[in-house]
């Protein structure tokens, strides 16, 4: 392991690797990435692979349009097949309030160039054969949303970054970060120390612990989010289907499995990744209610990852007041994976002072002190 670096990225998940990848492509390679487990260990290797542009703020819509463009190119760029499939996202609204909300977000999405449209329950059952539309008021469908296989995205970006000179250390745990006054001096790991003045905190659910090493308090809280997978079957399901009444979502992978999860409003913040029978029951019931023919398919496995949640549902980005060179890229909740391409590229441009993107000051940690928060309402799962 190197003993000094211009920049140390803590967290070898999709955010940290996307940043490393883009920094390296811009010629900045004196970078070390530290990952406590294997690549894919955290939420980046445990999510459902959904990539959507149906959001309620222009900022997130534009960010996701850029990410979709980038995901489409990433397989070619890295040589790793992401299995990115644009089968669309179909959202089901069951009450008038949600339906009205969909209408106005669709107008905003259309203005940005996302071809989302309102579809009637009858039209929706033509998009997904066998869909149970009882109680469904209206649906939103965007054919350009999609799903991908998360692992190769990480491996691909890691491979390119490392070929270009970035050092990626897996199974390397950060135990301390030393600072002198406002200045970072070194990052200490269980495999040795790295002298550096700049540290990026891209540790997802572990970000709070990392920030604490420098005396910085983040308001993020980790929440377990469980997912299950059904046995593979013939490809029949084109879009990701999501029920806005309970946060259910599921799609079919390129291997034919049905993969998805559901919100759990009763979940308490914890670092537990265990499995619960309650999830199996709630998920199976919600899924079978929406698409009854899934009832015969067998559940093969469940697993869990973390949502790294902030109080306003938006990430924590950019600088902190207390320490120089301590950059936050965390708090992405359940949508860090899909936003990672655009966020990584923008963060690389911002760090190298090639561009001054507003989001790094708008979504900084100090916004909570300033009281400048706004909530993204389109959050699933």
């Amino acid at each position: 392991m190197k003993d000094k670096a211009d920049l140390v990225i803590i967290g070898g998940g999709v955010i940290g690797l996307s940043l490393a990848y883009h920094l390296a492509k811009m010629g900045f390679t004196d970078v070390v990435v530290l990952e406590q487990g294997f690549l894919c260990f955290g939420a980046s290797g445990r999510n459902g692979g959904g990539v959507r542009q149906q959001w309620s703020t222009e900022e997130n819509i534009r960010l996701m349009q850029e990410s979709v463009r980038m995901f489409k190119a990433l397989s070619i760029e890295t040589g790793y097949n992401l299995w990115f499939r644009q089968g669309g996202y179909l959202f089901l609204a069951r009450d008038p309030e949600t339906a009205t909300g969909l209408e106005s977000t669709i107008k905003l999405q259309n203005r940005c160039g996302v071809p989302t449209r309102l579809v009637s329950p009858t039209q929706a059952s033509k998009i997904v054969h066998g869909l149970n539309t009882d109680g469904v008021e209206i649906c939103a469908f965007n054919p350009t949303d999609g799903v991908l296989f998360p692992f190769p995205a990480l491996w691909g970006m890691a491979k390119v970054a490392s070929d270009l000179g970035v050092e990626i250390n897996t199974f390397t745990r950060v135990t301390d970060i030393a600072a002198k006054g406002r200045q970072i001096v070194k990052v200490v790991t269980d495999k040795g120390s790295i002298a550096t003045n700049r540290v990026v905190n891209a540790a997802g659910a572990w970000s709070v612990q990392i920030a604490k090493m420098l005396g910085v308090e983040l308001p993020n809280k980790p929440y377990r989010h469980e997912i299950l997978i059904l046995e593979p079957t013939k490809p029949f399901l084109n879009p990701m289907v999501s029920d806005l009444s309970n946060g259910l979502y599921f799609s079919q992978t390129m291997r034919g499995e049905i993969c998805g999860g559901v919100s759990n409003p009763d979940e308490k913040s914890s670092m537990d990744t265990g499995a619960s029978f309650d999830f199996l029951r709630r998920m199976s019931s919600a899924m079978v209610a929406v698409l009854p023919k899934l009832a015969s398919l067998k559940v093969m496995r469940t697993w869990a990852g973390f949502y790294d949640e902030t109080p306003d549902g938006n990430p924590i980005l950019g600088r902190v007041n207390q320490i120089d060179g301590f950059i936050q890229l965390n708090g992405f909740g359940g949508h860090g994976f899909m936003m990672a391409p655009a966020i990584g590229k923008m963060a690389a441009q911002w760090i190298l002072r090639k561009a001054n993107h507003q989001i790094f000051s708008k979504y900084d940690l100090a916004r909570f002190d300033r009281g400048e928060t706004e909530r993204e309402t389109f959050v699933i799962g």
Binding site: G37, F38, L39, C40, F41, G45, F151, W155, F171, L230, E231, R255, T273, A275, F277, L280, R281, M283, S284, S285, M287, V288, A289, L294, A295, S296, L297, K298, V299, M300, R301, T302, W303
Partner: protein, 104 residues
């Protein structure tokens, strides 16, 4: 040329595993994600031990199972209907009869 199939559910061969090892996937978790072994209907009951032994020998006898992949539900693949409180499909068990003794 003869093939040695290590994971029957996902058709992962010894050669696949060796190639993955050469490509840098050198722990059980990464090998599993890269080759897909242990991700089929038996969820690794038939292959994980074989892969662990192969990996250990490729690493010169290192302990590779001190932190093994987590064992998670389900023990046997089970129709979603059952967890949804439905009794239909309870007797249906097309592809993994040998795995699911309850069904016999």
């Amino acid at each position: 040329m003869a093939k040695t199939i290590v994971c029957h559910c996902e058709d992962v061969t010894l050669e696949d595993l060796k190639e993955a090892f050469e490509a840098g996937y050198r722990d059980l978790e990464s090998l599993k994600r890269y080759t897909g072994f242990a991700t089929g209907l038996c969820q690794g009951k038939g292959c994980t031990a074989h892969v662990a032994r192969m990996l250990s020998s490729l690493k010169g006898g290192d302990d590779v199972v001190s932190d093994p992949p987590r064992t998670r539900p389900l023990l046997h693949p089970t129709p979603a209907a059952r967890f949804a409180g439905q009794t239909r499909f309870a007797g249906q068990n097309s592809s993994s009869k040998s795995c699911d003794e309850e069904e016999s």
